[in-house]
């Protein structure tokens, strides 16, 4: 009788432990996709410094000497750094969620070592609100990655930080869209200048050079704009996925949720591969 009780207690304990460490494979697949995508998108080759260098001659219609087109883009380096840090912190957050989902993720501690400070970076002012939400996520990620929490902790994290993540993602989406739109305005300006040049009785050789430069620069900018569309689309899906997890926080094992998060992960992968 005593042995039976001991056995029953042992089984119950195992069940409790199992419930605390249950693997949420689909949730993990989603968080891992988010992490991989954010790590990839941080590496984009055209940032604020590149925009500064291009815009300072494309929008300059009064320059006469080469020196008139020189530009100082030092401040914009700070801007690019802030965007990179925000990507890295979000990546670390999803890495931490993945850890809670029960499967070991590749953990990179370096990105979350420094948080975002409020202040001015080139054209961008990082407000206290932005600094606070991003730093909060950095702290959460560090805590989760360095402490042995059970998987049931994921529910608490999703509930407590859903709003914070939503604001951080919305601000990052805005920064991405603002820069992309400025690049598109540069493309509009190039069209305007080339239209005006072509209307100025150019020689055949001058016309050919104008058309060539117009086409080449438009093609170059189209590729950059397309990469920004992908970045924006991925961020949107990641935000949507986190909201879906939050909305289903009491039933993370439901078949409906599993399908939804796998579909979102597929969408994110599609954005990145097309």
């Amino acid at each position: 009788m005593k042995n039976t009780r001991l056995l029953a207690s042992g089984l119950l304990l195992l069940c409790i432990i199992q419930a605390g460490c249950v693997q949420l494979k689909e949730v993990h697949a989603f968080t891992e996709t988010c992490q991989t995508t954010l790590d990839k998108d941080v590496q984009i080759s055209y940032g604020y410094v590149d925009y500064c260098q291009d815009s300072c001659y494309i929008f300059n219609v009064s320059g006469r000497q080469l020196a008139d087109f020189d530009c100082n883009c030092q401040n914009d380096e700070g801007y690019d750094t802030v965007i990179k840090k925000e990507y890295n912190i979000l990546s670390a957050y999803f890495c931490a969620l993945g850890k809670l989902a029960g499967t070991q993720s590749k953990i990179n501690f370096a990105p979350i070592a420094t948080a975002i400070q409020a202040g001015t970076y080139g054209n961008m002012v990082v407000t206290t609100e932005e600094s606070t939400v991003v730093s909060t996520l950095a702290t959460v990620a560090t805590d989760l990655l360095t402490t042995k929490y059970k998987s049931k902790k994921i529910r608490e994290i999703l509930v407590r930080y859903n709003d914070t993540l939503a604001i951080a993602m919305e601000l990052l989406k805005l920064h991405i869209d603002n820069l992309k739109s400025k690049i598109e305005l540069m493309r509009t300006k190039i069209q305007q200048r080339c239209d005006l040049l072509m209307a100025n009785n150019l020689t055949d050789a001058e016309k050919w050079s104008t058309v060539y430069i117009y086409k080449q620069k438009r093609k170059e900018l189209a590729a950059i704009i397309s990469s920004y569309d992908k970045r924006y689309g991925s961020l949107d899906k990641i935000k949507q996925g986190h909201s879906t997890l939050y909305a289903n926080v009491n039933d993370l094992n439901s078949a409906t949720l599993k399908k939804k998060v796998i579909d979102l992960a597929s969408d994110i992968i599609y954005f990145n591969n097309n």
């Binding site: 054209n123 002012v125 407000t127 609100e129 603002n178 739109s181 509009t188 300006k189 305007q192």
Partner: protein
């Protein structure tokens, strides 16, 4: 509005001016063979100013500068959605010039948070759109 919503609104204004700039550019691009030098100069000058305002609104969005802006922007949001659609369908150079002048005045009024200026600019543009 909170700061995030302010930034979203500034971004929306930027997109509105961006679309108008593209519409003006496309108008010149399509009709450049038939437009007078004066009309090309007027439209291009207007387009440049609209581009500058669009850039300014996107920068403001990054700076999240539109705090406590709600009282200045009532009515603008709904109006701007219809203008871009209308300008695409107008082929009369005089109306295009009036609209471009109107949106430039509107941008100036928004940037300077001039409620009266916003109202009169919205009315000018609405008049030109109706024809």
């Amino acid at each position: 509005m909170g700061t995030v919503n302010d930034a979203i609104f500034a971004n929306k204004l930027g997109h509105f001016y961006q679309d108008i700039a593209q519409d003006l550019g496309d108008f010149v691009h399509t009709h450049i063979g038939t437009l007078s030098r004066e009309d090309i100069a007027t439209l291009s000058d207007g387009q440049t100013r609209v581009i500058n305002y669009a850039n300014q609104f996107f920068s403001l969005s990054d700076k999240i500068a539109f705090e406590q802006s709600e009282s200045y922007f009532n009515g603008v949001s709904n109006a701007i959605d219809s203008y871009d659609k209308a300008i695409k369908e107008i082929h009369d150079i005089n109306r295009v010039i009036i609209i471009s002048t109107g949106v430039i005045s509107l941008a100036l009024a928004i940037v300077s948070q001039n409620g009266g200026g916003i109202l009169s600019s919205v009315q000018t543009i609405a008049g030109a759109v109706k024809g």
